[in-house]
């Protein structure tokens, strides 16, 4: 191999490696790396691929359970849903690409998570999104990012025929300079037909199929995912990756047909770090070597260097391992779907990744060194000495009464109807969607045999910022509460940890505490983590984002015809507050509107008690005993009730009786509270299993509430008008 012009340590550092890491690479190779090798090491040893600051924490999470079929480590996790079927699911972030170009960033985020799903042999059946931006009222940039991200998600999901069935979006100042765009996907597959990504069979052939390879996102994984965005100079900006959902729809059908026909040994999508990471990880999992000839890779631009081909992040590509005798059949099938496959390499027994350009060997590295030898770092967590986040900007008149506060909350961008967003998504294609957005707290999809799946995605950065440990527990509980309202029992959990720079002690502390809360809550709910993603270094010039663990949970319903609804349905039904609910205002949505600083810590949560309430609500929904069930989240009890009124197009009259502090009672937030409605006898039966307080009745065309000597009154029309507040963001 030519060793002239070897890259310097400075170049290695510009690619994101530390001096120590570069020296370790030299030691592993027994010589300094050349350009191809350095490019590959810098990607595989990046935070994004190696999880070097989070792996030790992630190892503390519960990953096993009754329903887990595939845990973290594969392209997606999978849980058993009965009858030989599994549900594969995972959430991923595309934060930095979306901050650069929101439409393509969000679109390729959806494309990437969908490939993860069909890479394990499951057909994608749903997408959800989780979005965070700055204040849309004052920030034009936030409106631009929101508009672009939503159109990008819709563009990709709609065009490929996978319904976007749910999601969440929040607007808070700390996301102004660093928006979050997370996408989750679910797939359905046969348990026996799942495929893993481990390369196997010495002499077998690697086939690359899908889009041709261009200079998309070169340097992306190392630069984009591992440097703070503000540090990125113009010339380091990678080329923007453009998504092509049409190509991906062919890729998807072709991949599933290859698997169905039993033609392939292993399958892997090309995501961040392109061919480098997919090939190396396939080799590592199979404990084999791989030879790749970059001259065989179909290129979009003729003059690409071997290292560029190896690190390109061109979208819509897949890599599979094929027995030589089946190669022709595989190529023919890829031709049928117009995603023309090419044999680009072979599985070897060398334990080496060897990169050739034709006959010329241009790179040779031990697979183990590339994939497993990246140093893992211990965090140095310490709680912040002073508050990290300035108080939010106050928008609510301090003299506002209960009614004005209710209307302001309903119109808050964090609570107002998401209809203007989700109307841009096809939520019904594939004919499985039993509960569309705004019909239930969780989306519900039907499965063969009359059963159902429920899915929800949740996060609450403000509460996690106030208390990373309890805040994260609250998020996991909210996700499970959403499932309970639909009548579903959790099967498994996925998560995306969106945090700032973990090399800073207070961020390390947020991350450590949040993961502790996540593990504890998932353990207590028996909803193990089957996969996820970590996105660090989310900081802008004015500081870090709120620490934002985003939790996605999948549950199942034995009888999908009884899926719960959140809207009040019948005049005369009793309305009850369910659960041992201790609402508090600090860190609530009302506190945000009032411009109050975040508290230092949140009240303790009794996870077991919340779980018991969730089970009681779930069982009542499953029996068909309730007309509606809705969990109490942002905005507290009165907002939850207003949402049930709006969803059912009917009013309610409530009396909370004697009440020390009407504000806390009506607008305070805490995990574990539900608003249900139904026949008084059904509510009485529910009271045998959990705390139940009948507080009013469904009926009329207004919401009227009395709490102690406080009172609020609004017509449905007024509530509806306030609830439409987001529409003006999408003129």
């Amino acid at each position: 191999m030519a060793d002239a012009g070897l890259p310097t340590v400075e170049e290695a550092m510009a690619l994101g490696l530390t001096r120590g890491e570069y020296e370790l690479v030299c030691e592993k190779l027994d010589r300094p790396p050349n350009q191809v090798e350095l490019a590959m090491f810098s990607l595989l040893w990046s935070e994004h691929c190696a999880y070097k600051h989070s792996k030790k924490l992630l190892m503390t999470l519960p990953t096993e359970g009754e329903f887990v079929v595939m845990g973290p480590g594969e392209n997606a996790g999978a849980v058993d849903v009965g009858d030989g079927l599994v549900c594969a699911f995972k959430v991923e972030s595309h934060n930095h690409p979306s901050a650069v170009e929101p439409f393509q960033g969000a679109a390729t985020g959806v494309g990437g998570i969908l490939r993860d799903i069909f890479a394990i042999g499951a057909r994608p059946i749903a997408v959800l999104d989780s979005l965070r931006f700055g204040d849309p009222g004052t920030s034009e940039r936030s409106r631009f990012l929101l508009d672009g991200a939503v159109s990008g998600i819709g563009h990709y999901g709609n065009s490929i025929g996978v319904p976007t069935v749910g999601g969440e979006v929040y607007f808070e100042e700390p996301y102004e300079q660093n928006c979050l765009v997370n996408a989750m996907a679910l797939g359905l597959g046969e348990r026996e037909k799942l495929v893993r990504s481990a390369a196997a069979g010495i002499g077998n052939i690697l086939v690359l199929y899908g889009a041709s390879t261009g200079r998309d996102g070169i340097g992306g994984a190392s630069v984009l995912a591992s440097a703070e965005l503000g540090e990125l100079s113009e010339d380091k900006r990678p080329t923007v990756q453009v998504g092509d959902p049409f190509e991906e729809s062919k890729l998807l059908e072709c991949s599933l047909e290859l698997l169905e026909a039993g033609l392939i040994v292993a399958l892997q999508d090309l995501g961040a770090a392109g061919l480098t990471s997919s090939a190396s990880e396939m080799a590592s999992k199979g404990e084999v070597g791989i030879d790749i000839d970059v001259a065989k890779v179909p290129l979009r631009e003729a003059d690409m260097e071997p290292f560029e081909i190896m690190v390109s992040e061109s979208q819509e590509r897949m890599l599979c391992v094929v027995e030589p005798g089946k190669l022709d059949t595989v190529i023919a099938l890829t031709d049928k779907w117009e995603v023309h496959g090419t044999a680009i390499g072979t599985v070897t027994d060398t334990g080496q990744m060897r990169i050739f350009r034709g006959e010329e060997l241009v790179g040779e590295m031990p697979v183990v060194a590339l994939v497993d030898d990246c140093p893992l770092y211990d965090l140095d967590p310490a709680p912040p000495a002073a508050p990290i986040y300035p108080p939010p900007t106050a928008t609510l008149d301090p003299a506002a009464d209960l009614r004005q506060a209710l209307l302001a909350l309903i119109a808050s961008p964090n609570i107002a109807s998401r209809r203007p967003l989700f109307e841009q998504y096809d939520s019904i294609v594939q004919s499985r969607t039993v509960r569309r957005p705004e019909e239930s707290d969780a989306a519900v999809l039907q499965l063969p045999g009359g059963r159902g799946l429920a899915v929800s995605i949740d996060g609450n950065g403000r509460k996690v910022a106030a208390d990373p440990y309890r805040g994260t527990i609250g998020v996991v509980l909210e996700c499970a509460s959403n499932l309970a309202c639909a009548g579903a029992q959790p099967l498994g959990t996925t998560n995306n940890l969106n945090f700032g720079n973990p090399e800073k002690p207070h961020i390390a502390w947020q991350l450590t505490e949040a993961v502790r809360g996540l593990g504890e809550a998932c353990r207590a709910l028996e909803a193990p983590i089957v996969g996820g993603n970590v996105s660090l270094y989310n900081e802008g010039a004015s500081g870090p984002i709120y620490p934002t663990p985003v939790i996605g949970m999948v549950g199942r319903l034995p009888d999908v015809t009884r899926a719960g609804r959140l809207g009040f349905a019948r005049e005369g039904d009793a309305i009850a507050l369910v659960g041992r609910f201790s609402p508090a205002l600090p860190a609530s949505e009302l506190a945000r509107l009032r411009g109050e600083a975040l508290p230092d810590g949140l009240p303790d949560v009794d996870i077991a008690a919340v779980r018991a309430t969730q089970e009681a609500v779930r069982d009542a929904v499953r029996e068909g005993a309730l007309s509606s069930a809705h969990d109490i989240a942002e905005g507290g009890l009165l907002v939850a009730i207003a949402e049930s009124c709006l969803a059912g197009d009917v009013g309610a009259t409530l009396d909370l009786g004697a009440c020390e502090d009407a504000w806390s009672a009506l607008f305070g937030e805490a995990p574990g509270g539900f608003v249900v409605s139904g026949d008084p006898s059904a509510i009485a039966r529910l009271a045998e299993h959990t705390d139940v307080d009948v507080i009013g009745a469904v009926g009329g065309d207004r919401l009227h509430v009395r709490a102690g000597d406080g009172e609020a009154n609004a017509t449905l029309a007024e509530l509806r008008e306030a609830h439409r507040a987001l529409a003006r963001l999408f003129p």
Binding site: S159, G161, F246, E247, D426, S431, F730
Partner: protein
């Protein structure tokens, strides 16, 4: 009664259409590169994004070998239903008058709409009452129906405007709220909303079934 549902690269709602048609008869998928209509009594050109909707929705798909067969089948009086992208394909292929342009709101929009049955005497609306309102979802970015005014006058006079959006429900800016039209002979019908997504009380309304039932009645009539 045997329905054939076309499948192009990029089709999305073909399996949904197959399931819906399967409730009133047999339904098979037909691959765009084949030429065998497999003895189908009616053809459905489904929704989705054939060829990614690149260039113009429906522009590339209409040239596929199977579409050539469908054009011949339609010229011989065979029943052809185009839904959403299928409607766009049929317009591009010249089997239906007019064109579908970008929604005036410039956004892909997905919403349950009410469709008014304007002509209940076509083979696709036999099972509907005149003026009946059907609740059906619509979801598209390019669904604004356009044809020159005098042509629409003539179409209205001839009963070719088959379904309209009910007042207030037209989000795409279609001329005269037109949601679906048929050809002069009445055997080819295209509409933007999705009757195949309104066939099961579990996932929505069941009003869309009426379209498939009508087709089955018409086909039986022709045969009998």
């Amino acid at each position: 009664m045997k329905f054939g549902v076309l499948r192009f690269p990029g089709s999305c709602d073909e399996v949904d259409a197959q399931l819906a048609a399967g409730r009133v008869g047999e339904a098979v998928l037909l691959w765009h590169r084949d030429r065998d209509l497999q003895g189908c009594d009616a053809i459905i050109v489904p929704g989705g994004f054939s060829y990614g909707d690149y260039l113009r929705a429906g522009a590339i798909a209409r040239f596929s070998p199977m579409m050539e067969e469908v054009i011949a089948f339609a010229r011989d009086g065979g029943l052809v239903l185009g839904i959403c992208n299928g409607f766009q394909v049929l317009c591009e292929a010249g089997l239906l008058p007019g064109a579908l342009l970008q929604n005036t709101n410039r956004r892909f929009t997905s919403r349950q709409v009410r469709l008014e049955v304007v002509n209940s005497e076509t083979p696709f609306t036999l099972a509907c009452a005149p003026g009946e309102l059907l609740s059906v979802p619509a979801k598209h970015g390019s669904g604004r129906y356009y044809a020159p005014d005098d042509q629409i006058d003539a179409m209205e006079a001839a009963g070719q405007v088959v379904v309209r959006y009910a007042p207030g429900d037209c989000f795409n800016g279609s001329a005269r709220d037109i949601a679906g039209v048929c050809n002069q002979a009445g055997n080819v019908f295209g509409l933007m909303p999705h009757p195949e997504h309104a066939v099961d009380p579990l996932t929505g309304s069941t009003d869309g079934l009426r379209i498939f039932e009508s087709m089955a009645m018409a086909a039986e009539g022709v045969r009998g």
